[in-house]
Symmetry: D2
Subunit: 305 residues, 4 copies
């Protein structure tokens, strides 16, 4: 693949990169090794649009909405969330079955049993599944029951996991690290992309700072910067980004005007009783209102000069 | 002044607060000393709207737009900026005459001479002036030539300056500290308010984090949080918040949907030749487009559910 | 195990903790789930000392010194390092065979082949091996060739890896996360400990801040705090902590007086040619001098009031 | 003054630096304006030693010890502290009479009355005074009663104050900003130095990070870096640096091995009743023990290779 004045070597993982550097006409190979190239807009100018099938796409031209609980808890819970999504025309559902928890004693998710139920119920309703994969051995296990693999903020630099996802034919959404830089997020995406999987989504979910009035500091600066640096779609997660239920809608709307290609947020029938993250989870009324507002804002964005 | 179940003592700076604590029926006085009270929405529920005269207000009900160069450079420069503002219906102009610079060898501004010219030209055009005051001795000197005193990010905790501004009858816009918390910004406002000056504006301008792809990390989370905690107007400064010209408009628009009462940004006829901050400064075409877009977004905000 | 006025349940991973909470006389179970308990000094007052065999211990009573290259590169390189260590009485050698790299194109280590050579050569010389394990599948593979498993700063919250290491009978050294809190480090240790492996070492290696004059900000505050909160040994890594070769010795010495039980640092015959991290690696002269100085400082520490 | 291959212009504040740049043989003048030069070790290789008179010096060759309460409270309190210092051979006393407080309702110090008493009592006992100056107008007022002006962490970039201190003939100790970089601290020192006052001390006192287990993150990395970059003495403040009384001594000792020229810490007869900062203040027994240990560590430092 050639662009401008340089050549990018793709899918050459098993070749010693130095042998390429010695070919006639090649320079700048040293710098490739420190940087992202394949996910760069310098190489692929046109924005990437992912097609998940059944008319669901992520990328320029649509506003991807993805909602659901932090954790999958039961069939009854999922049914309620799915009904809410279907009623509001949302086609992507998030929900964790493997949960990374900083304490070993916290709820860790329903695992593969939960995922199989999640998949079956979603298929019946035309809903696509976004769920977190935590380790290499789960990649194969989860593969047939997942529409988008999510790499969580604590695994953004789990390079073995990224390598494994490079060999998969399903989209991968990579969350920015807890204190990850924009460049590190792009480098993590480069891992997957250079492994052969070009179906990638970048997710801004807030970074760790000294501020304690919010759970994280949602870095909306990252949205236009990522969109300029990379051809990959960018999603904003306002739930983790601010961590306080009543302010999630404002940050979701702001995220759209910052240029996001989609929003992923947490919703639950009764946030107060959620197994995890209830304090940042919208109930269905709040969620429905947010969906309507997001669509109006997205429409306006298209009309701005 | 009474609200809910507690009494707030206002303007009692010279009284030992402990004597109040010993009055019958008084409790919680110890906690007052660690916290902001007068700027809190718990005490004054209705949002504060500042009236600058000539139909210019800052606060709920309007979107305050304030633009101009980082530094006042010359009469010719000011005339061009003012013409641009008048053409676009912007009534507030920013521009520094005293410039805080981390190096002692950098340009430090035109000083009082520049301010007098700034004031005369602004008055002729119905424009209100927002400019930074750096030290106590300037408060009196600048007073008659300023519409809004700006306290810069390096002076957010210059308590003597805050005290001095507490005795002034002009509005004060306090920028969040370089690494200031939301609570510290409110406490700094409390200094001015408790000194007797209730005309205050809070400004989110980005905080210092590990991220180096942007100049600062604009913390839009702070907007809904400040609006919920305080009755004071909140302004967003996207120019310092991201520091890169091409991304300033996106962050300005996002700021409005986060709930800001206004936007302050940098514009200059030829940003490339600006005496300071050129890399984050819009030219007049970009500025005019941003103004039109900001107004459309603000209008939509009023129509959202 | 009982201490003071409370009972700690150990090794009960498969029991629903709520059933314990309902037993007569039990309270505070809710808080256990949010916190570290088994690694806490409130439960085990006496400092833990790890015995690695052949007279090598880590913990109170000795200063553990561990040195070696960032990456294992060749037998010749290892031989030189080992000779240097033996001559200076250092019994622990660090060296990576699996290297986490933020770019997919960087050198990723010699893998299991390198580890087997490392192990054989170390055994011949009475040296113990500390090396990084990056994923669950490597735990079993590496097990027989490792004396201390190192969990790197990007894997501090790789909970599956921590779970797997909980089932192993070899010591585990957990590095603090890139922007990890002290509490998170202790919670990660709790994962391993509650899985049954009590052989743990905590490692302070610097955190990410806004400062760019150093690679990381070595947080020596963490040393006395960790020693007070936990009974586990605490090691300081000045090489990653400051990232600049000429300042590594000063930070190593400071670490001992802050209370560290050991120091791990990078050394290489010719740092300029090292496959990774050369800029923070000592040559053998510098290393030998540091070892002598560290021992003098450690001796003095024992004599202070 | 000439060094290596470049000439540094000193004390030329009122000359337009560009006129120098046009002289024959001059280059690099543009970079001077962005950077510190006069405080750099590239210009003055030999470490600066400040002589405060009566045999009290700060800089290479001695370990400067400075102790005292956060706030001056009364003559009785000062007398006790001074007796403690005299008994232990400490010649520098810290104590605030103007206190920067984030809340306007907190204790703000005894002011000039307190300082006059402080000065009189100190003179009688051969003790030198280090105390904070908060604003320009205080510089002249405090001048005759102060031995070292302290610029607090909230005023590190109060450029008017730095300018004013540039015209004074008393030493100035500049604390690193709350989230100040090493380069910013040097630039602030450059302000004072370029104003004509070369009697400067740099103070590391911890920076703001995400860590909440300590008050600040004491950045001991800054000590060897500052010592290498600048010829000025560097002092460490472990009291603010960690903020927890029982860990202050460990960090003080670590600071000496990191290369500090002195330690400033808080002590009070009864820390529990101190008007401010009691939680990080040593009682006299702890202080006396620390002084003895600091001297032993400093002596050892001189003996290390």
């Amino acid at each position: 693949t050639q662009h401008a004045h340089y050549v990018v070597a793709i899918g050459k993982k098993d070749v010693d990169i130095r042998t390429i550097g010695q070919l006639p006409g090649v320079r700048d190979v040293h710098h490739v090794s420190d940087d992202y190239k394949l996910v760069s807009r310098k190489w692929r100018v046109k924005p990437t649009v992912l097609d998940l099938g059944d008319g669901v796409t992520i990328g320029e031209g649509t506003l991807a909405l993805c909602a659901g609980p932090c954790s999958i808890e039961s069939e009854a819970q999922m049914e309620k969330v799915m009904n809410h999504l279907v009623e509001n025309g949302v086609r992507l559902m998030r929900g964790g079955v493997f949960k990374p928890r900083s304490s070993p004693y916290a709820f860790r998710g329903l695992g593969m049993d939960g995922l199989r139920d999640f998949h079956r119920m979603a298929r019946e309703r035309g809903i696509k599944i976004v769920t977190e994969v935590m380790q290499v051995s789960q990649v194969e296990e989860m593969h047939d029951f997942v529409d988008v693999f999510q790499v969580g903020a604590r695994n953004t630099q789990n390079f073995n996991l990224l390598d494994a996802l490079g060999g998969v034919d399903k989209p991968v959404m990579i969350k920015r690290g807890i204190s990850g830089t924009i460049e590190e997020l792009l480098s993590s995406a480069e891992y997957v992309f250079s492994g052969g999987n070009e179906k990638l989504i970048l997710c801004e979910r807030g970074i760790r700072t000294f501020e304690t009035a919010s759970r994280n500091t949602l870095d909306l600066n990252a949205v236009p910067i990522l969109k300029a640096k990379s051809h990959l779609p960018v999603i904003v997660d306002p739930s983790h980004g601010i961590g306080i239920r009543e302010y999630v809608p404002a940050m979701a709307l702001a995220g759209v005007l910052a240029g996001a290609d989609g929003i992923v947020y947490e919703t639950h029938e009764t946030p107060e009783t959620a197994a995890s993250d209830g304090a940042q989870t919208l109930d269905f009324d709040e969620s429905a209102r947010l969906i309507r507002n997001l669509r109006r804002v997205y429409q306006l964005r298209g009309e701005l000069e």
